[in-house]
Structures are given as C-alpha cells and as structure tokens.
C-alpha cells in the first residue's frame, strides 16, 4: 500500500504568551513591547476612558500608562499576570490624573443634563430602530456620567469589574485590595450607580 503523502497543513501560529514577550522586552527587544501595546491598547484605553470620562484625558492616561509600563518592565517579576500589572498601572495613572484634575476643576463643565425620567430599560438586541438606538445612547451617556460621579474608591472597582468584566480576584490583584474589600466597594458602588440611574432602570 503506497504511503500517503503527508499534506502540509498550514496551522495558524499560536500567539506568543505575554510572559515570553515581557522577557524579550526585559532583554532589550523593543518589538516585543510594541506587540504588547498592540495586544492591550484597546483594553487599556477602555479603562482610562471609563475612569477619566473624556477622550483627551483618557488619551493622556493611556500614553502615560504604556510609558510607565515600558520604563518599569525591568522590575516586573512575574508575580502576577502582565495584564494585571498593566491594568494596575493604567488605573493608578488615571486615578492620579483624576485627583489632579479635581483639584483644578472647581466647577464641572459637564453640568448634569436632566433627561426625561421615564425611559424604560432597554436591552440591546438585533432590531436597532432609531428610537432604540437613541435610548441606548442616552443610557450609555447616563451610565458614563454616573460612573464619572462615583467616588474614586467605587469607580475603579465598578469599571474593572462590571464594565471591563474582570473577576473579583483579578480586580483585587489590580487594585491591591482584598477580595472582601472589592466586593464591599462593588456593592456600594452599584447602589450609588443605581440611585443615579434609577429612572433608566
């Protein structure tokens, strides 16, 4: 029986694990750092945007976060995952900028807009009519505004847990808090958010 020729099947290359890329960066490989940036730029932007509440500040925090990550990656000891470490930097940079901003801003330029109070809660579905889209946009804007107004301790937990989908354990690692503290802040943050968004819920 003739031997079958083995067909060369092209298998997609597996992504290089973060840890391997980090070791390459630590050895001086700048392309590895660029790969890490490409991998996480959107997620980090999400965090900075959610925490800062506007594009300009989020953009600055995003740049600062990656610059700090690059400068201090030599000290990364693999005690946590790279993304946990990066998210911690992004959160800390954002909160630090936020504190500075709050000291400078005595009056918010984004005054609350009192929207019609009886909008029903809408779960996005595939039938996006213009009215639904409008309501979702309003709800989204209201949610971001409510998050902006949360006390800092609650805000970081709510952003990472509810909006970014990290687990309680991951949030505890990012913020250097116990899981119990994360849960407590999350519960209280949600209650505050709910009060602010009650007319939408």
């Amino acid at each position: 029986m003739p031997e079958h020729k083995q067909l060369a099947v092209a298998t997609p290359a597996l992504p290089v694990p973060d840890d391997v890329l980090v070791r390459r960066v630590q050895a001086g490989n700048t392309e590895a750092f660029e790969e890490l940036v490409r991998r996480y730029e959107r997620k980090v932007y999400n965090i900075t945007y959610r925490l800062m509440g506007n594009e300009q500040d989020a953009s600055e925090a995003l740049q600062d976060a990656f610059m700090r990550a690059y400068r201090f990656i030599g000290k990364f000891q693999f005690k946590s995952s790279f993304f946990t470490w990066l998210y911690r930097i992004a959160t800390n940079v954002s909160l630090s900028k936020l504190r500075k901003r709050e000291k400078i801003d005595t009056v918010s330029i984004d005054q609350p807009v009192n929207e019609a109070g009886d909008l029903p809660f809408e779960i996005p579905d595939v039938k996006y009519g213009p009215e639904k889209l409008m309501k979702q946009r309003e709800l989204r804007a209201a949610l971001q505004k409510a998050v902006d107004e949360l006390p800092e301790d609650y805000r970081s937990v709510v952003v990472l847990r509810d909006l970014e989908g990290l687990s309680n354990e991951e949030v505890s690692n990012v913020l250097h808090l116990s899981v119990a503290a994360v849960k407590s802040r999350l519960h209280r943050g949600r209650l505050v958010l709910r009060e602010k968004l009650v007319s939408y819920l």
Binding site: F121, I123, L143, R194
Partner: protein, 88 residues
Amino acid sequence: MKKRKKQTGECHECDEARELIARYVGGEEDEELARQVLLHAQTCAECATLLRSLKRLVHYCSLEPNCEMPVAVRRELWVTIRREIHTD
C-alpha cells in the same frame, strides 16, 4: 431576615436587605443567600424594585461595548511609544 416595616407596609432603610441583595446580584453563589433575598423581595415592594433594578444595571454594564479608540488617540499613542522606546 427581620424587616423593619413602617405603618405603610413599605420596607424603608432596610440596610440588611440591601446588602444581601447587592451580594446576590454580585453573583455570590449561596443558596441560603438567594433564598433570603427572594423571600424578602416577595414581601417587600421596595426591595423587589431594588433587586430588579440592580440586576438590570449589572446586566446593562455587562453588555456595554468597548469604547472605540479614536484613530487620533491611537496615532498619538504610537508616536509617544516609538519616541519612548527608540530614545533609550
């Protein structure tokens, strides 16, 4: 769970219930917790509303799409990154 009822029959300032509801909505898997919360919500309109609205809030948050990173923000990021890593 003891309810502190006012004469109107509504459950006001029921901190204990609010705390339990928040834990329940937070996904804590505890049958006794779930039983207490649901039982309480059946007899207290205010807490039932709280439970419903918190579940909606968490659900809505989970559906919230990622923010679109504007092209200009990304471009600026990469200018900064390349300046940083190539001037070491």
